[in-house]
């Protein structure tokens, strides 16, 4: 274990950077960029430090003592005469196998996105300040163990994202930005409501033997902490757990984005500047599924078990629907955006299986989709920077003009298709194995496998339209990648292939936690009585 509060550091480092940037001069755009890059690089270092001292066998999930790097102290603690106004919120951070991959992913994607932000010229100061704020929000979501803290970070990302899309985006940026904002806010008000409901339904045992209401996720997971009259307590015969679950799920589903809440995604992606698309697809979408795994599953194990078929159904719809719609796209970026919809469907399907294999696959897919889609959006960015068009039919034959670029594109595309030896294959395979193993999900899984066919279809078609065939003379003067672009692509490529060949490097991190999660979700009886109170 590490002596200093490393999770706070990794979370608030970007905020520190933001303040530094605020006090820098507008003209120092180079130093601002280097500062941002330095901070994201430092985040990677910290994430690696975390990884180096990470205990692979600790389960986490529902057991506070098996979380790692815990930082917990009282933040808000209002105690009145009765419980009135009494809110106890802990500053509670810690990671387990569920969050560790996401922390790594966030650090990595932020770094790459910072690199790809190099050619931002408009209001550099504002851009990077917001960028770092966004970074902090994302990191915070993944390390928080207190629901309230989680929610603060969750919402913290909205505004920077709005501005980053709205100011630095494409022609319809305002529409896309507000659409993103409204959709996500719409989702998060439901999360808020459920959060409050949970707060009222459960109490935590304090050191002095008293019981206080709590936002601690871990305390909320324990059925023994629920009082019989709580509206979200399974003991309460009129409980609203099902409705709450659906509301919470909807809140997270919008972020994933799950059909039919996905329509903000193509717009946001198309309009957002490349680095923001990278972050959006690379990290933000994962928050939805992370939230479901971290919060919905262990807090509502009973409902989760009841609804797993529906979750899988939505997973299947996402996979097939996303792929089919992607097939019809004429805009490169939109196509990638819909491919994200499809790929996040695998995560849903894997999660729905409630088996170790499936959930391992789902989390692994979250990580892999993060790296692969980040790379895909970078790819779009590279070609858009040079040609200022994204129409799939505007290209042709770029392979001869930009061979190295094409090489990376091929890697990324085949990774997205799920070619073995690349990370995407392992996670998709695990998802299918997990889901197929569950009797009730078998048919859905079989239908979902069509996704790998359609995925190959739209990806290869794209590859062909852009890179193959005779060179479009318009682009005869395009330059191949420069050093900075190499620096973006190489780490991602290495990770994609490394994890494809040796997936255990990542799976071992999450495995203990996934086993605890599955064990917890499948065996917990929510009606355990508290007794008293």
């Amino acid at each position: 274990m590490i002596g200093f509060p490393i999770l706070s550091l990794i979370t608030f480092l970007p905020i520190l950077g933001m303040f530094l940037i605020m006090f820098m001069k507008k003209e120092q755009s180079k130093s601002i960029k280097y500062l941002t890059l330095g901070i994201t690089a430092l985040q990677i270092v910290l994430a690696l430090v975390l990884l180096a001292s990470y205990n692979y066998s600790a389960g986490g999930i529902y057991e506070e003592k098996s979380f790692q790097f815990i930082e917990k102290f009282k933040w808000i603690n209002i105690s009145g005469i009765s419980w009135l106004g009494n809110i106890k919120i802990d500053y509670f951070m810690g990671i387990d196998g569920l969050s560790m991959p996401m922390v790594l992913l966030t650090a990595l994607v932020s770094f790459v996105a910072a690199l790809s932000s190099w050619n931002i010229e408009k209001s550099v100061k504002g851009y990077f300040a917001l960028f770092l704020l966004l970074d902090a929000g994302m990191m915070g979501v993944f390390v928080s163990l207190d629901f309230f803290l989680f929610y603060i970070f969750w919402e913290l990302m909205l505004l920077p994202m709005y501005f980053l899309i709205g100011i630095w985006g494409g022609p319809r940026k305002e529409y896309a930005a507000i659409k993103f904002f409204i959709y996500t806010l719409f989702g998060s008000v439901f999360i808020l409501l459920v959060m409050i409901g949970l707060y009222f339904s459960a109490t935590e045992l304090m050191a002095d033997g008293s019981r206080v209401h709590t936002f601690s996720m871990i305390a909320l997971m324990n059925p023994a902490n629920y009082s019989a009259d709580g509206i979200l307590s399974a003991l309460n015969p009129d409980n609203l757990r099902l409705i709450a679950y659906i509301a919470l799920f909807a809140g997270f589903a919008i972020k994933i984005p799950m059909f039919p809440f996905h329509t903000w995604l193509p717009d946001a992606h198309v309009e957002a500047p490349t680095p923001i698309s990278v972050i959006l697809a690379g990290v933000l979408l994962k928050m939805g599924t992370y939230g479901i795994l971290r919060i919905s599953y262990p807090i509502f194990p009973d409902i989760t078990r009841d609804l797993m078929w529906y979750i899988a159904l939505f997973g299947m719809v996402n996979i097939i629907y996303g792929a089919l719609v992607a097939l019809a796209q004429k805009d490169f970026k939109k196509l990638i955006a819909y491919s994200s919809v499809s790929h996040m469907g695998y995560v849903l399907l894997g999660m729905a299986s409630l088996t170790t294999v499936g959930i391992n696959g789902a989390i692994f897919q979250m990580f892999n989709h993060g790296t692969i889609t980040a790379m895909l959006f970078l790819i779009v960015g590279v070609v858009y920077d040079r040609t200022h068009t994204r129409g799939l039919n505007d290209f042709g034959g770029l392979a001869s003009q930009m061979p190295v670029y094409t090489g990376f594109v091929t890697v990324a595309f085949f990774a997205a298709i799920g070619l073995p030896s690349m990370s995407g294959f392992v996670s998709e395979a695990l998802v299918f194995i997990g889901a197929f193993g569950v009797d009730s999900l078998r048919v859905l899984t079989i239908i979902s496998t069509l996704g790998i066919l359609l995925g190959a279809a739209y990806m290869l078609w794209t590859l062909q339209r852009i890179f193959f065939g005779p060179l479009n003379e318009k682009w005869a003067s395009l330059k191949d990648l420069d050093a900075r672009e190499y620096a973006m692509f190489i780490p991602l490529t290495i990770i994609i292939i490394f994890l494809g060949v040796y997936p255990s490097a990542m799976l071992n991190i999450m495995n203990s936690s996934v086993n605890s999660l599955v064990h917890f979700v499948t065996t917990t009886v929510s009606t355990t009585s508290l007794g008293g109170l």
Partner: protein, 505 residues
Amino acid sequence: MMENTNLYHSLSLILPEIVISVALIVLVLADLIFHKDKKYIPYIALVSILVAGYYTLIQYGTSGSAFLTSGKNTISLGMFAADSFSIFFKMIVLVSTLFIVFFSFSSEEIIKIKDRIGEYYALIFGMVLGMFFMISATDLILIYLSMELMSLSSYVLSGFTKLRERNSEAALKYLLYGAVSSGLMLFGISLVYGLTGSTNLYAINALIQSPEINLFTLAFACILIFAGIGYKISSAPFHFWTPDVYEGAPITITAFLSVASKAAGFALLIRFIKTTFVSYIDPLGMWHLLNVFDWRSMLVAISILTMTLGNFSALWQNNMKRMLAYSSIAHAGYLLLGLVVLSNQGILAILIYFSVYLVMNLGAFLVVMLIANKTGSEDIDDYDGLGHTSPFLGISLAIFLVSLTGLPPTAGFIGKLYLFVALVDAQMIVVAVIALLNSVVSLYYYVRVLKHMFLTKSVDETPVVSVSIPNIILVSSLVFVILLFGVYFTPLVDAAQSCLVILGL
């Protein structure tokens, strides 16, 4: 002897009001004495506010009823309640007055009328005095009189600058509307008097439990009285004056009306309902009303109507002040939610929400004023590109508006959080959902301002709005408070928690 102790005791309880009254007189006199150079007058106002604040704060912990009359049933039927609840609201009024004085220093509109500045402050103090009594009044007549005192001052103030047509129009509309409302209220009061034979709220509480009371008449009276108070807090459907008057009045007065007079109105409404209609409060803090009038249903309906109307109308506004007017209507709707749960928890939420609302709403008005000072326009379209040319104001306004939306990590979120906590606690989930969806709608119009400031390119040159150092300090302190309470709200809640005592049951 008895009478004298009673009187002295009463006077000690109304010390803050006495300070305000003295200040009012001093201001009027000062206006006469310094008729050449009136630049000291604002400082007199400032000092008076501080003194009044001091006397208000030292009252903390005392609780008593002033101007007792010996009634038939009980002996302690005062018409003025000094309790911690009133202290909280009085402090809100005083703080907002303080800010209004600061605003007036730099408001172009007020600077233009500097030769009448004495009257201006005198009228403001008239309003404050009215509000103080409204907050503490436990007698229908005192309620009526204090409301009139406040209203009459505010009618004049809303048309005070006479710089533009709209000032006079605002004053006239406010006057007519306000006079009719108070007339209706008075009629309601007369009915209550007729039903119970008393105007004292405590007495009425006891008397209306009698089975002989004509419930229909009582309901009619309640509605009429609510119409009077509802117009003060601009709750639908008595809000119609709000947008027009807010737009027409000088911005400092608009800000004052949107915070202070609303605070007084809410204090009055809460006290009126609590004192008059509650039969008992259970240990969990839930109020159990006398079964004479269904306040809860009516308030739920009105609250939802108010916030929905405020939010949806605000979507269409192009004038910042008008938009903020509708936003303040919407916020009145949220605040009413704290009342509909009819519990101490709800009152706590209202107190917290009001403190937060004070800061964020005044902050928003301040920035709007500073911009209007420079550009002379309150049109949202004229905000194009402002975020880039004047980043300080842009970012500050953004934070205020985000807080008004209720997003973390700003204080506005904490206010909403406590409201929803109260609603969920009272198991009014559906209402909570409606309120939450409303706050999503509100995002549209708040963000629209951000869009104009940051996203939209200005057609012509956007002026650079420079801000003086004091104003920078003022704005930053408001921003600081918003962000501080957003992440650490213990002191706020502690303060509100200790101010829940409403004299009576």
